[in-house]
Amino acid sequence: MHWIILPVILPAMLAPILGFVMRHDISLARVASIAGTATLVAIAVGLTMLASDGETHVYRLGDWPAPFGIVLVLDRLSAMMVMLTSLLALVVLIHAVVTGWDARGRHFHALFQFQLMGICGAFLTGDVFNLFVFFEVLLIASYGLMIHAGGRERMQAGLQYVVMNLAGSTLFLFALGTLYASTGTLNIADLAAKVPTIPADEAALVRVAAILLMVVFAVKAALFPVQFWLPATYANAPAPVAALFAIMTKVGAYAIIRVHTLAFGPGTPGTDGLAASWLFPAAIVTIAVGAFGVLGAKRLMPLIAFSIVGSMGTLLVAVAAFSPTAMTAALYYMLHSTFAAAGLFLMADLVVSRRNGDLLRTQAPTIQNGLFAALFFGAAIAMAGMPPLSGFLGKLLILDSLRDPGTIAWAWTAILAGSLLTIVGFARAGSTLFWKSTSVPVASAESEVTDMPEPASQPATAMEIAPTMAAIALLIGLSVFAGPVSNYLEGTSAQLFDRAGYISAVLGPEGEG
C-alpha cells in the first residue's frame, strides 16, 4: 500500500539529486529526469489499475488515524489525474530535451521534478491544508520554470504571475482559517461528514469559506473574472513549460470538483447549489472571453493561451451542473483539453523557433511548411472541437449532459458559439502562418533575412516532431477508445458522488455518522 505515496516521493527524491549532484552534467540530468518521469508513468499505470476496482484506497502518513493525521486518498479520479500528469510530463520533457530548451537556463530538470511532485501531491491529498502546501510546492517550481531562460518580457510576465499567485495563496489561507473556525477540521472526508450537519441558518461562515475556496481554485483554473493572468503567463513562458502548465489549470478544476462535490456538494443544507450558482455564469463568460481572445489575438502564443481559457470555460460549465453524467463529460473533456493544449504549444514551439517571433503575419514560409501546417491543423481541430478528434466527442458529451431546461439555452449557445469563434480564430491564424506565406517569394525574404537575426532554419528532426505527434496520437487514442474511457469515467463520477463511501473509507466505518 506504500505505492500511493510514490508519485510524491519519487520526484521529491530525484529533484535534489538533479539539482545538487547532476548540476554540471546536462546529459546525465536528462537521462535521470526522463527515466524518473518514465517510472512515474509506470507507477501511475499501477495506481490506476489499483484504483480501477472502485475502492477508495487510503494511505495514512505516520499511520495516524484520519481526521488527526494527514491522509493521501487514491480513488479513480486521483489515479486518473496522476496518470494524465505523468503522460503529459513525459511528452513535454522529451520535447524540452530534444529541442534543447532545458539547457537554456539552469536547473530545468530539478524544477520540473518539483513541479511534478506538487501536482501529484495535490491530486492525491485528502486534506485541504495539505492541498495548500502542495499548491505552494507546484507554484514555487512553476515560478522557476516560468522564467526559465530569462529575457525581459518573460521576467516581467513572471513577476506578474508570482504576485498574482501569492495573492491567491493568501486568499487560500483566509479560506482555510474561516473553514477551520466554523467546522473544526480540514480533512476533506471529515468536512464531508460535518458540513451537512450544519443547519442552513448557521452556515454563513461555511458559505463564506466555500466561496473563498472557489475563488482560489478559480484563479488556478483561469475562470472569469480571475483569468486575466493566464494569457500573459502562458504566452511568455517557454513553450514546453507552457505545455506542462496545461495541467496546472486542471489542478484548479480538480480542486473545485473534489472539494465542492464532496464537502459543499449536493445534499448539504448550508451550501447546496451555492457553488453551481456562481460557477455556471462565470464559466459561460469564460467561454466568451476565450473565444474573443482567440479571435483577436495578434500572436500565436496568446492565441493558444486564450483557447485554453475557452476550454476551461467549457469544462467548468459541465462541472457546474454537479450531476454524475455531466461530471463524466467534464472529466473526458479534461483529459482531452490537456493533451490538445500541450500539443498546440509544442507545435507552436517548432514553428516559432523557425520564424521571427510568433506574430501572426505573413512572411516567407519556414522550412517544412507543410508538415507544420498539418500538425497545427490536427491540434487546432482538436482544440476547437471538430470531428474526428476527441474534442468533438468531449463537447458532444457535455452538450448532451446539459439538457436541464434552466441551463440548456445558455450552455448550448455559449459552447456552440464559442466553438465557432475558436474555429474562425484558428483558421485565420493557420492560413496566415502557413497558407498565405507560401505566396511570399523566398528570394525577397532571404534578402530581408540577412540583416535580421537569422531564425533557426534547420529542418525539425523526427525526434523533435515526435512529442507533438505523441500528443496528437493520445487524442486519437482518446477518441478511438472513447467507449472504455467513458466507462472508466462513469465509474469515476459515480465514486465521486458517493460521499458516504468516501467518508467511511477515510474515517473508518465509525466516522460515518
Partner: protein, 121 residues
C-alpha cells in the same frame, strides 16, 4: 481582545491590498508581506482566542487547553510565505534589472510603446 485582534487583521489587510494596488514591485512586496501577516494572525485566531492556556493536553486533572492545530498551521504558513517573499524579491530584482522599470502591470503587447517611453525617460 477580540476587537483588537480583529481590527489589527482588518488594518493589515487593508494596508496590504492598498499597497498591492500600487503595481510597483517594492510596494507590492510590502503589501503581500502585510497580507501574509494578516492571514497568519487570522489563522492563529481561528482556534479561538485564549489567555494563559497551553496548547498541550494535560494528563493531570481538567486543566483546559487551547487548540494546538492552528498554531501548527500558522507555522507552516509563516515558513511558506517567508520563502515566497524571498523568491518574489529575487524575481522582482531580476525583472527590474532586465526591464529597467519596476512596474508590474506591463502587458507584453505594449512592449514596443514602452521601449520608446523608456528611451525618453
Amino acid at each position: 481582545m477580540e476587537l483588537i485582534v480583529a481590527s489589527a487583521i482588518g488594518t493589515l489587510t487593508a494596508g496590504g491590498v492598498y499597497l498591492m494596488l500600487r503595481l510597483r514591485t517594492f510596494p507590492v512586496i510590502l503589501g503581500l508581506a502585510l497580507l501574509s501577516y494578516a492571514v497568519n494572525v487570522f489563522i492563529f485566531a481561528s482556534g479561538r482566542l485564549a489567555i494563559d492556556m497551553s496548547p498541550i493536553l494535560s494528563k493531570y486533572g481538567d486543566a483546559s487547553y487551547t487548540d494546538p492545530l492552528p498554531q501548527a498551521l500558522v507555522l507552516t504558513a509563516i515558513v511558506i510565505s517567508f520563502g515566497m517573499t524571498a523568491v518574489l524579491v529575487m524575481i522582482g530584482l531580476g525583472a527590474f534589472l532586465e526591464a529597467e522599470t519596476d512596474r508590474i502591470d506591463v502587458a507584453s503587447d505594449e512592449a514596443e510603446t514602452n521601449e520608446t517611453k523608456d528611451g525618453a525617460a
